[in-house]
């Protein structure tokens, strides 16, 4: 016991050794550098023109209908051609995982549709171009994770981006099963996660989930102006 106390005391003494006062020249150098260093622009530029949302909503519904019918044609095929052409092994039927069209506080008009086939996901998420010049963004959806509390995350990679969200950046939409009006959208990886991990779509979703859990809260879903529909 004495040894442990001695050790703890020795560690405390050793850690307390020396001064931590920052020399003024260090502070001056930082403040000088800051004058000529621009701040990075945040990905999540605030949505400024809410009137735009209602203006775009009919167009969004039409666009969604077009996407949905195109996806249906591709996934279910026309006249028996397409899927299953090789006839080798029967594959699980594609089913809707989720789709939605909504205005998200930070990102603006978001439309997405994800089809699940076995363990894989296909689909697309689009963020419309905004009147402040941000967007459009397109994300190819490739993977999904569902939490115990019913949150479905659908992730993928940006295929059409801009200077802030470049192609190849991971992106995801999260929706809550049973709630047609809650969702969240985000891009990138949580800080501290190695860049290599982001090449794995599902690992990136896991990293985000872990990031939020460590912070002691679940995924921050917002109530939407719009809605989400879930598959079976």
């Amino acid at each position: 016991m004495n040894d442990k106390r001695d050790f703890d005391r020795a560690v405390d003494r050793w850690l307390d050794d020396g001064s931590d006062a920052t020399p003024p020249e260090v502070i001056n150098a930082v403040l000088l550098a800051v004058r000529s260093t621009p701040q990075e622009r945040d990905f999540r530029v605030p949505w400024r023109n809410t009137a735009m949302a209602s203006y775009l909503r009919p167009a969004a519904v039409i666009a969604l209908a077009v996407i949905a019918s195109t996806a249906a044609i591709f996934t279910f095929g026309l006249g028996g051609s397409g899927i299953g052409q090789t006839g080798a092994t029967p594959s699980p039927s594609p089913v809707l995982l989720a789709r939605g069209s909504f205005v998200e506080h930070d990102w603006g008009l978001v439309e997405f549709e994800a089809i699940r086939e076995g363990s894989s996901v296909t689909g697309r998420m689009t963020l419309a171009e905004r009147d402040d010049g941000f967007g459009p963004i397109t994300v190819d959806l490739l993977c999904t994770r569902e939490t115990d509390d019913g949150i479905v995350m659908i992730g993928g990679y940006v295929t059409v981006g801009n200077q802030f969200i470049v192609p190849g950046t991971p992106g995801w939409v999260a929706v809550e099963r049973g709630s047609p009006d809650k969702a969240s959208v985000n891009f990138g990886s949580p800080m501290g996660v190695p860049a290599t991990q982001t090449t794995d779509c599902r690992a990136n979703l896991d990293a985000w989930l872990q990031h939020y859990r460590r912070g002691g809260y679940t995924l921050p879903l917002s109530v939407l102006d719009g809605g989400v529909e879930f598959g079976p």
Binding site: D3, D6, F7, A10, V11, D12, R13, W14, L15, D17, G18, D20, A21, T22, P23, V26, I27, A29, V30, L31, A33, V34, R35, T37, P38, Q39, E40, R41, D42, F43, P190, M191, G192, V193, Q210, H211, R214, G215
Partner: protein
């Protein structure tokens, strides 16, 4: 940390950022100095980290989490800059005869030097966890959150660091006992 000052700095106010620098620089320097064991290098790293903090501030979601976020940037700056530095691998502490005036002082200096040598042998990620936990006083869960690593990883890094330091400490004590003719 004043939330309002963080918010203003986040939106590009350089005076607010200067306030933040004055509030947090000593704490950050203390962490860097303890992880790197080199005051000059720690000052360089602090400088880089503070400029990075300024650049990235608009990405900070919650102003209340500024301090942990700043620690994370600092620790990453330590990781980035330490491998380029070789001095700390061979630094030698000089014992001043007037400081070591009695047996207790000699023992304290021996303990400290042994801890210092053992700590320098630790990988930086173990050092970071040890310093954030023992010097800053963050609970392990907060250390893990700050560094963006799982709790178990933080626990294991702390365990290995502590084990190494304790072994060095016990060795120093045993050597001292031997010199003074005390049974081990």
């Amino acid at each position: 940390m004043d939330r309002d000052v963080v918010e203003r700095a986040r939106s590009g106010d350089q005076e607010a950022f200067a306030d933040l620098v004055h509030q947090i620089s000593d704490t950050l320097l203390g962490v860097a100095r303890r992880i790197l064991r080199d005051p000059t290098l720690a000052e360089d790293v602090l400088q880089n980290a503070l400029v990075t903090i300024w650049r990235k501030l608009p990405h900070l979601r919650e102003a209340d989490r500024f301090e942990g976020w700043a620690f994370r940037i600092l620790v990453h700056a330590c990781y980035a800059d330490a491998p380029r530095n070789r001095r700390w691998a061979s630094a030698i502490r000089v014992l001043h005869p007037d400081v070591a005036s009695d047996v207790d002082d000699i023992q304290k200096i021996a303990d400290r030097d042994e801890l210092e040598r053992a700590f320098r042998r630790l990988p930086l990620d173990q050092r970071a966890v040890f310093v954030l936990h023992h010097h800053v006083g963050l609970p392990l869960v907060a250390v893990a959150e700050t560094l963006g690593i799982p709790d178990g990883t933080a626990r294991s890094r702390l365990h290995y660091a502590t084990r190494t330091l304790r072994a060095a400490f016990e060795q120093a004590r045993a050597a001292q006992d031997l010199r003074e003719g005390r049974p081990a």
